[in-house]
């Protein structure tokens, strides 16, 4: 059994796991986790084997390429409709390998974590069934070799997101959040669908490799439109402005869901799609500028909101939005490798942070408001230390993960001439450090602000939940260094070069800007570390810190004072810049009025016409009925008149 033949197993196993769990899960009840977990474990093993094979170069060359190693498998023909031919096939190249690492590892850890987190839930088996279905969809998405299959997987992922966000469906806010997520996603999906249609109309094929080969045949405008449409889809799935409104509300779902879907996998689907289509974007530089602008704007927007949120999960949600914005900005400026690098590191440390926050919530008995937490560092040690590592990572403190990836993004932005992107990203880096340590301060340091009864019952979570945290902490610590070094010829750049080289070549940029430890690069690195440290220290001073020798008390009164100084900004941040209200007015209120007008039209005009036809028929019948008097003489008069008419017309006309 060769590795190549196992590729379809990557999608078959999860869907089988879903089917089996869905059918008999209710009876298995508390044992329902075995099948899904084992399924995903098997998937992880196969995926890791594939990854090692592809990235180390032992895999064969992909057909049609001189440098790219990987596997291209066609599983079966889905639509053989003459000119419209769609095969379901899988492509595993180095880009896929990078995604597989993130998706399968975090997927497996979340499955294990959920055994503990969801243990008290009545819908235990349902949760695992949905998780498996999600893994199936996500794996299909990253492995697919045809745009249409990607779209199908895209929609499936959206469906699973809906099912999982609304998992506690009896809770109204959860159901509404699930609907919101699905609908906003849909808006983006329309763009993606249009893009696919346009690709088919222009090129006649939807196979990704074929499209990439032949994209040069089209004229610039078409390519730009296609790029923008595909980006629209990515905007929906990866929650960029203005389709970002669903992600914070998606925190209504259970925390493992937030970790898996909304930090590490589904939201990365947008980035993956764009990275996979990079040759298309390479021919449309103006589209790339749009991508960069939207991305970096989302980054600062989300960061500004995260600074005042009080729900621990919302802070992390906005943080995710912000980091995704970074990735899109990176892509937009041409730093494609950096974008994927950040995707990988972010997946791990954000997953860690979310699972850690889940552990915190579990410890304080389902309390999510940080104002009621505090001082937890003494009680839940493992959670505390892993989250500290995660916070340091996301802030960009060397030598942890995000330092390398974020710094590469900013550095390349500066060097490719996108100074505005660099400037905004720079500020966002500081804000990131600030709000993360605000979160740490409110949650772990200082004194507990909740009820005493809960304080006594706080305990560390079970090993089935803490072990995934520890496992995730390892890549958080080391992945950055592993992938990002040596500077200038990083390992990840080497991996991804075959995928991006041609596109970058078209874009007329240097494929690998070289790093100098001193000189311009050194200055940039120093600058970003500095701003991160500044943000961190400001967070410490306002919200307290207690790491080893570094101790500072929290100063809530100073916080209030500072917020009072910038009332508009504070309120804007607290109200998420009023975007939800704007959407409400635009679509619910105004849309509702328009819908009511159409309903009136339908009721009165359309139905009225139909009813009028019926009524007029009845009235006509009633009128005509008068003719039938039942009296022979009336009928005889009719005969006489008819006779007169016939005879008269004969006389007049035939003579």
């Amino acid at each position: 059994m060769s590795l190549e033949s196992l590729i379809p197993a990557l999608v078959v196993l999860p869907i089988l796991g879903f089917a089996v769990t869905a059918l008999i899960g209710r009876r298995l009840d508390k044992q329902a986790h075995w099948i899904p977990v084992l399924t995903i474990f098997a998937v992880w093993v196969i995926a890791m084997a594939l990854v090692v094979d592809v990235l180390s170069g032992t895999a064969p060359l992909l057909p049609g390429s001189e440098e790219s190693h990987g596997y291209a498998v066609t599983w079966f023909t889905w639509i053989p409709a003459g000119a419209f031919h769609v095969d379901v096939g899988f492509v595993v190249d180095s880009l896929t390998a990078c995604l597989l690492i993130v998706v399968t590892t975090i997927g497996l850890l979340v499955h294990v974590y959920s055994i503990g987190y969801m243990s008290h839930d009545a819908g235990y088996w349902r949760f695992f069934a949905y998780l498996n279905l999600f893994m199936f969809s996500m794996l299909l998405l990253v492995l697919a070799s045809n745009f249409l299959v990607v779209f199908v997987a895209w929609e499936l992922v959206g469906l699973c997101s809906y099912l999982l966000i609304g998992f506690w469906y009896r809770k109204r806010s959860a159901a509404l959040a699930a609907k919101k997520a699905f609908i906003v996603n849909r808006v983006g999906d329309i763009g993606f669908a249009l893009g696919i249609m346009l690709i088919f109309v222009s090129l006649g094929t939807l196979d990704i490799r074929e499209v990439i080969e032949r994209i040069g045949e089209l004229d610039g405008t078409t390519i730009m439109v296609i790029s923008l449409l595909i980006f629209a889809g990515a905007m929906g799935k990866s929650a960029q402005f203005p389709l970002h409104v669903w992600l914070p509300d998606a925190m209504e779902g259970p925390t493992p869901v937030s970790a898996l879907i909304h930090a590490a996998t589904m939201v990365n689907a947008g980035i993956y799609l764009i990275a996979r289509s990079n040759p298309i974007f390479a021919h449309a530089p103006s589209a790339l500028v749009v991508v960069a602008a939207v991305g970096i704007f989302t980054a600062i927007l989300a960061a500004s909101i995260a600074m005042t949120q009080t729900d621990i999960k919302r802070v992390l949600a906005y943080s995710t939005l912000s980091q995704l914005g970074y990735m899109f900005a990176a892509f937009g400026v041409g730093a494609w490798t950096a974008a994927i690098f950040h995707l990988m590191t972010h997946g791990f440390f954000k997953g860690l942070l979310f699972l850690g926050s889940g552990s915190v919530i579990h410890a304080v008995h389902e309390e999510q408001d940080m104002r009621n937490m505090g001082g937890l560092s003494s009680k839940i040690k493992i959670t505390y230390w892993t989250m500290l590592i995660g916070s340091l990572a996301i802030s960009g403190i060397p030598p942890l993960a995000a330092f390398f990836s974020k710094d590469e993004i900013l550095g390349e932005a500066y060097k490719f001439g996108f100074l505005w992107v660099w400037a905004v990203g720079f500020v966002v880096a500081g804000m990131t450090a600030f709000y993360m340590f605000r979160l740490m301060g409110l949650t772990f340091w200082g004194t507990f602000r909740g009820p005493k009864a809960i304080w006594d019952k706080i305990h560390e979570s079970s090993p089935v939940m803490t072990i995934p945290l520890i496992v995730l902490a390892i890549p958080t610590l080391f992945l950055g260094a592993y992938l990002g070094l040596p500077l200038g010829a990083s390992r990840i750049a080497e991996w991804l070069e075959p995928v991006f080289a041609e596109g970058l070549h078209v874009l007329h940029t240097e494929a690998e800007p070289s790093y100098e430890l001193f000189g311009l690069d050194g200055v940039l690195i120093l600058a970003s570390v500095t701003i991160a440290a500044v943000g961190m220290v400001i967070g410490w001073r306002l919200f307290g810190v207690g790491i080893g020798p570094i101790r500072m008390p929290s100063r809530p009164e100073r916080v209030r004072e500072l917020s009072a100084r910038v009332p508009f900004l504070y309120r804007a941040s607290l109200n998420k810049w009023w975007f939800d209200d704007l959407n409400h007015v635009l679509f619910i209120v105004i849309g509702g009025r328009i819908a009511a007008a159409f309903w009136w039209f339908d009721r009165e005009v359309v139905d009225g016409t139909v009813n009028a036809v019926g009524a007029s028929t009845v009235d006509a019948g009633r009128g005509l009925r008068q003719v039938q008097t039942g009296r022979v003489q009336n009928y005889a008069l009719g005969i006489a008149i008819g006779l007169i008419v016939m005879a008269g017309s004969y006389l007049l006309l035939a003579r």
Binding site: L637, I644, A647, G648, L651
Partner: protein
């Protein structure tokens, strides 16, 4: 008393006198022959009594007017030369059918018959339709060229019976069956239900 008996006799004599006078006048002053004069007289009587049939209030009088009409028609048959037919007209129509009708009138009389309306609500349209029918027939007749035929033939009983029993013997037999059926049907329809309303 005596005057009451005399009135109808005097009336009858007056009518005969008037008709003779008119005929004589037509003969003498208008220079027409007998056939024409009689034709006009009979035609006038027929039309007049026909109008009386359809307009008079009392049904018995309508029936009597109808008898007069049939009589005038018999006269016209004679002018046309169909003497046997004229005899048949008088015997059958006046002698049988009119009597039948009068009997039926008597059997279906209601108490307040004369005081009610004579005509239907659709009388006016009916009148208009009838006038138009008459006009159309007249126009059609006048506009048609009927060909040369100034001579009228006298139909002898001999000739008539020859045609009747040679060419038309089948219809003759059929009609006798038809009459039988009609009589039986009429008797059955008008029969009183046993024990039913009288």
């Amino acid at each position: 008393m005596l005057m009451h008996r005399l009135v109808p006799i005097i009336l009858g004599l007056a009518v005969i006198g008037v008709v003779t006078a008119v005929a004589a006048a037509m003969l003498v002053f208008l220079g027409q022959n007998w056939a024409d004069a009689l034709f006009w007289i009979f035609a006038a009587v027929m039309i007049g009594s026909g109008l009386m049939v359809v307009t008079m209030r009392d049904i018995i009088r309508c029936g009597l007017a109808m008898i007069v009409c049939f009589g005038a028609l018999a006269g016209i048959y004679v002018i046309l030369g169909a003497t046997l037919l004229a005899a048949a007209q008088v015997i059958v129509y006046i002698g049988a059918i009119s009597v039948l009708i009068l009997f039926a009138i008597m059997l279906t009389q209601t108490k307040d018959a004369p005081s009610r309306l004579v005509f239907q609500t659709q009388a006016v349209p009916a009148a208009i339709a009838s006038i138009v029918i008459a006009i159309i027939i007249a126009l059609a007749v006048v506009a048609t060229d009927w060909g040369e035929a100034a001579q009228r033939f006298r139909i002898t009983a001999d000739a008539l019976s020859k045609v009747l029993f040679e060419s038309y013997v089948l219809p003759f037999e059929v009609i006798s069956v038809l009459l039988l059926a009609a009589v039986i049907g009429g008797v059955y329809l008008a029969k009183r239900e046993p024990g039913g309303p009288s």
